[in-house]
Symmetry: C3
Subunit: 177 residues, 3 copies
């Protein structure tokens, strides 16, 4: 698998190489977005996840799509977590960009995230978040705000490591155990 | 936005202009269908919802589709609630008509409605109800019977006002508050 | 309805003629798969279900699709339950084969099965199981393992008899009651 060859030195294939993509609004405060990525890192901590990239792009479908494609197609990324752009506004295009690149949808992940969020946040039912696999990379859309993103990711984080394992067809063990 | 220009005098843009479409069976008792619309009105009462139209059409896909298109494309309707035609029978065509007209699906709404219904009604898992946005109008499919329609709508009614706000990109406040 | 003409002598139209399709892995132990079918039979017992066929096919999309088509198109089968092939691996192709043959999707069934499974098994959110109708046959994808398949089927079995009734447009009564 080319993804293996592309793995940086020091990374074991038993780790889940994770990239975070923050989809930003032109007028949104930028520190709020960093806080969402920070919230995700707290949830990932202690698992087999290793952050290999972090980028932010404006909320334009073509830019989101291009970034997702690069991460999936050049190898070296097992899991992409996006934040933001999953609402009903015209500028919310993350699900559209995701739908364009995934080859197999995994509907149970957004279902479970919405169910977990809905317990504390009635508007969570409006999230159009998707999840799916392109080549050997799993893409999962998460909400924009730190609290919602944390809750959503926490609801499925255990499954994500196994999902990557299944996608890659191999077993993953947490680092340093 | 042309929808604003089309708003009747006396309607504020802060209200959710709501239309109800009852999809009828040729042999069904017509008062039963009216009771479903009445059940919906009870749930909408007290929120920012203003009923701007109510119509019933036979359960034919082309007729349902045409009605949805007119309401979405001529402006003046923020929210369309349909009742009936979401089962597994050959004459259940509301989801098909809805799928034809919506541009962006909102899967979390039917998910949440089915989850709420399933607690009291095991057959609710068979509902093929959809929800989605066409232009600046949100369409939500609801069940045929008064009890099920009431339960389904009540499960998401809080989110619907915010959904319309997000679709229109503006803030909505309840009338007379 | 031609399905009726194809019913074997002794079968009433009030029964749900059920076929089980086990999707097998080349290297998987074959008795494990039989145990999954056995687990399904325990859940079906006592309902209006009559097993009219049982077959196993390797996990190849074309073979699964062909089998589903034959059962749906030649009549005599009201309900097809598949087991296996719903994960994220490259060889998991049951949802793809199912998507190719169904005409109307019934999303609430996999939703409810995943929700029931998730209470005991966090990885259940990864199931890509589908359900849908082709002609007058309902197809439902179930997991591979006996425990998961049993839990998933038990969560929706009450609805399945009614679903078949709705698809056929007639009333079904349990046999011998």
């Amino acid at each position: 698998m080319s993804a293996c060859a592309a793995a940086p030195p020091g990374y074991s294939r038993s780790m889940v190489r994770t990239a975070i993509l923050t989809v930003t609004r032109p007028n949104a405060p930028s520190d709020g977005e960093d806080q969402t990525a920070r919230a995700l890192r707290q949830v990932l901590k202690g698992g087999p996840f290793v952050e290999v990239d972090y980028q932010s792009v404006p909320d334009e479908q073509a830019l989101i799509r291009a970034k997702l494609r690069v991460w999936c197609d050049q190898g070296g990324v097992d899991l992409v977590l996006t934040t933001g752009g999953v609402g009903l506004g015209l500028r919310d295009r993350t699900p559209e960009a995701t739908a364009e690149v995934i080859e197999r949808e995994v509907r149970g992940l957004p279902e479970a995230m919405r169910a977990a969020l809905a317990r504390e946040q009635p508007l969570a039912v409006l999230s159009r978040a998707l999840a799916g696999v392109r080549r050997s990379t799993l893409i999962v859309n998460l909400p924009a705000t730190p609290d919602s993103a944390r809750t959503a990711l926490a609801a499925v984080v255990t499954a994500l490591a196994f999902a990557v394992e299944e996608v890659r067809g191999e077993r993953i063990v947490p680092p340093a155990t």
